[in-house]
């Protein structure tokens, strides 16, 4: 715990040693991927493999395409008109653009946590079990069990167990974000996408969420977009640096932060631009 409470230092970046675990090395595989919003090319020639049950951080300056790539992993960008892509993304060997794959079932396997916490104006309980309700789970006992498991995993159970029927909108900002994480993991997805999950939170809440990411890594493959280099260094096993829609460097976090092979990466990490 103490390391969580230390304020992020800009002078010295702590790097976690990469802990290679058992699992498929190319669990998520992105190949020659390009993406357009209308005429504007947002991503170009992205190729990277995300291993199973590891945390991968996407870093880069604003507008570099890291969020776009993240939102394409569960096809959230389908909501936007006039999009186009080239190349392919596979999850566990199967293309997410496979016509036989329903986008709904893809999203059930790939959960997502957003930059701004976005709980529904429902009770805490209903928020957590929403993903189960939409697949038609009616059994109250099952829902309650899932709710408790998810909230425990999201380290929120002790704080809300006595007021599950209260509105979720009465929670604090950090609690809301952890509630959103609980909601995202309630239907046991395989992958968890996090789009700057801590950008609106204070350091203590950020610390809790980072701790959570360490624990969730045991079960989920996590892709996190962050603007905080310290956060990327603290939570991720591998880091990808993007700039202007291109993938500049992708390697273990240790390597990226200690010994980057690209000058641009080093410049960004040391704060000379971006």
């Amino acid at each position: 715990m103490p390391s969580l409470m230390t304020p992020p230092s800009t002078s010295r970046i702590q790097v976690r040693p990469a802990a290679e675990r058992e699992g498929r090395k190319d669990y998520i595989s992105i190949r020659d991927y390009g993406f357009w919003y209308g005429q504007k090319k947002a991503l170009e020639a992205i190729s990277l493999d995300i291993p199973e049950r590891q945390v991968v951080a996407f870093i880069g300056p604003s507008g570099c395409g890291k969020s776009t790539l993240l939102r394409n992993l569960n096809r959230m960008n389908d909501l936007v008109d006039g999009i186009r892509h080239e190349g392919d993304i596979t999850i566990n060997g199967r293309s997410i653009y496979d016509p036989g794959l329903e986008v709904i079932s893809l999203r059930r396997r790939v959960g997502m946590v957003f930059q701004k916490s976005n709980p529904f104006p429902k009770s805490i309980f209903e928020n957590v079990v929403y993903a189960l309700r939409v697949v038609g789970v009616r059994d109250r006992a099952l829902l309650e069990e899932a709710c408790e498991t998810s909230l425990r995993k999201a380290a929120l159970w002790d704080e809300v167990k006595d007021r599950l029927d209260d509105s979720a909108l009465g929670l604090s900002g950090g609690q809301m974000q952890r509630l959103c994480i609980a909601r995202a993991i309630a239907n046991r997805p395989e992958i968890l996408l996090m789009d700057e999950p801590c950008s609106a939170l204070d350091p203590i809440a950020t610390g809790k969420i980072e701790e959570l990411i360490h624990e969730l890594k045991e079960q989920f493959t996590i892709v996190i977009v962050t603007h905080s280099m310290q956060q990327a260094a603290r939570v991720s096993d591998r880091t990808a640096f993007f700039y202007l829609g291109k993938q500049i460097e992708y390697d273990t976090t240790e390597k990226i932060f200690m010994n980057p092979s690209q000058a641009q990466t080093e410049a960004y990490i040391s704060g000379r631009f971006g």
């Binding site: 008109d81 709904i104 999203r107 957003f114 701004k116 929403y130 939409v134 697949v135 909108l169 909601r183």
Partner: protein, 544 residues
């Protein structure tokens, strides 16, 4: 470049005053209208003292002051007034109201023995009572101390008799007649199809009903002949003798003897009659119960019809339809629909709902009724259902536009959160978007209700009538009769104001009815606003 102004007031600030002026003018007109309606409408039932006026030509009149106004053509610096008195006794005076030059009134006194009577026929009367002939034949003179008690007792007894009679003749005999009608239709059908069993059954039914009818007639006769009718002998202003049977008297009061509490009680009793009773005397007297009920039921049905239609349409337009030029045209058309004059909707309602839809329903489900009842239509004529549908169509654009805006205002994050958990588009709409946009949708419904409740023109074509024989809701199956014609407050105002045989008598009722209509619309809106605020409270604190 002009020199910078050193005034502390920025240029253009004068427009603030103009816009403020606009608000003041608008508010002034609204407040003026409401106070005019309120002052005139709320004082209708108040009973002021009634003067005896001596005119310079030797005539005397007894009447309640109705209006006072400047005489046409009198000089502006020295205005001359004239007064309108409600003198009543229409059968003698020819007219209930009388205009008199104020200059010609020599003296005005307020004698305590003036009696005001509200009567079943011929409007009110203001008389000086002489004697009372009680129902047992005994005569009580005005001078006797027992007069007033005996009089009020006789009035109450006569009222009870009259109400019983109305109950028998209008309601119970009415029910028998309705049943008889059904049986006769059945009999004609049976005879036509030569169904011997049914002919016998129907004939038996008719015989039973005939018997019941005779019984009720006898009962009615017994009620009226139950004793000699009490009557009041009185003099009018000119000294002519007037005999009023007390069964004709609805209410009697001594306007110059009443204390304030007595006047308040009288006001309350008249107000209660106005709200809870049925109309009398070409709608110029009595109550508005059927019109209040009709307006309320029609508005509620309209809202129930327009809300699902409008919401479903808006969901399709906003969430499912391909955004493009075609959709833009559809949207413009929907918005323009809101600007179509309401009478056009009335004509459409008559042509399509009543004749086409109603006619088809009659052909399909009420063929027997048509064939054996002189082609009397059931749904193929104006009625509650068609009125509600016509107004629903008219207010549809309001609900569509409001719902679209409400859906668009739901934070993007909520939509994405739902989709990201693997919910389908429909689940997202049903579970997230609709609840979150419910307050906005209700705002649209409130606007639609406000417009629908006050609309008259289209209703005149599709089912509102001056006087409906029965309410659209009663004790006989299916309880709610969507095919029936009904009365409506807005139409009632029009009918009283412009179609009434006695415009002077109708004038106060126009104001009272208008006030009631405004109050009803305000109440409906307050109800909807209350629901909306409760919904809003659920979403309070949502920060996106």
């Amino acid at each position: 470049m002009s020199a910078p102004s050193d005034s502390s007031t920025p240029r253009g600030e004068a427009w603030v005053w103009f816009s403020g002026l606009g608000l003041i003018v608008g508010l002034g007109m609204v407040i003026g209208l409401l106070s005019l309606v309120f002052l005139n409408g709320a004082t209708v039932f108040w009973a002021p003292p009634v003067p005896v006026a001596q005119l310079d030509d030797g005539r005397t009149l007894i009447g309640q002051l109705a209006q006072r106004r400047i005489r046409a053509g009198s000089p502006a610096d020295q205005p001359k007034y004239e007064r309108q008195y409600q003198v009543g006794l229409r059968e003698l005076n020819g007219n209930s109201y009388l205009w008199v030059d104020e200059a010609r009134i020599k003296a005005e006194t307020f004698p305590a023995d003036i009696l005001g009577l509200e009567r079943v026929e011929n409007g009110p009367a203001f008389v000086r009572p002489q004697s009372l002939r009680r129902s047992d034949g005994q005569v009580v003179a005005i001078a006797e101390p027992a007069f007033e008690v005996a009089f009020q007792a006789e009035v109450a007894a006569a009222s009870a008799v009259r109400e019983k009679l109305v109950e028998i003749t209008r309601h119970r005999i009415g029910d028998v007649n309705a049943a008889m009608e059904q049986s006769r239709v059945g009999l004609r059908r049976a005879e036509d199809l030569k169904l011997a069993d049914e002919i016998a059954a129907r004939k038996a039914e008719i015989a039973v009903l005939d018997e019941r009818y005779a019984l009720l007639q006898a009962e009615a006769a017994k009620v009226t002949a139950g004793g000699a009718v009490a009557s009041l002998t009185a003099q009018d202003a000119a000294g002519r003798e007037v005999v009023v049977p007390l069964t004709q008297v609805i209410r009697a009061w001594f306007p110059n003897r009443l204390d304030t509490w007595g006047r308040v009680k009288l006001y309350g009793s008249r107000l209660a009659e106005f709200i809870f009773d049925e109309p009398r005397e070409a709608n110029t007297e009595g109550g508005l119960m059927p019109a209040i009920f009709g307006t309320l039921v029609m508005t509620v049905f309209m809202s129930l019809l327009v809300t699902p239609f409008g919401v479903i349409t808006a969901i399709y337009l906003r969430e499912y339809a391909q955004q493009g030029p075609l959709l833009r045209i559809v949207r413009i058309s929907v918005n323009n629909l809101a600007g179509v004059p309401s009478i056009v909707f009335g004509v459409f309602g008559l042509g399509f709902f009543v004749y086409v839809l109603g006619g088809s329903i009659d052909q399909l489900f009420f063929a027997d009724q048509l064939k054996y009842n002189n082609n009397t239509p059931v749904f193929g004529t104006g009625g509650l259902l068609w009125c509600s549908l016509t107004l629903a169509l008219m207010t549809l654009p309001v609900v569509i536009v409001a719902t679209e805006e409400a859906l668009a205002a739901v934070p993007r994050g909520m939509r994405e959160a739902s989709l990201a958990t693997g919910a389908s588009k429909w689940q997202t709409i049903r579970d997230i978007l609709l609840p979150a946009s419910a307050p906005g949708i209700l705002t649209g419904v409130i606007l639609a209700m406000a417009r629908g409740a006050g609309e008259v023109a289209p209703l005149m074509l599709v089912g509102v009538v001056k006087l409906a024989p029965s309410l659209p809701f009663d004790g006989s199956f299916p309880f709610l009769h969507m095919d029936r014609k009904f009365m409506h407050l807005g139409f009632h105002v029009y009918d009283l104001g412009f179609q009434s045989p006695d415009s002077d008598a109708a004038r106060p009722m126009v104001f009272a009815t208008t006030l009631l209509l405004i109050i009803l619309v305000v109440c409906l809106n307050l109800g909807a606003i209350w629901i909306r605020n409760r919904l809003r409270a659920r979403f309070k604190g949502a920060s996106f």
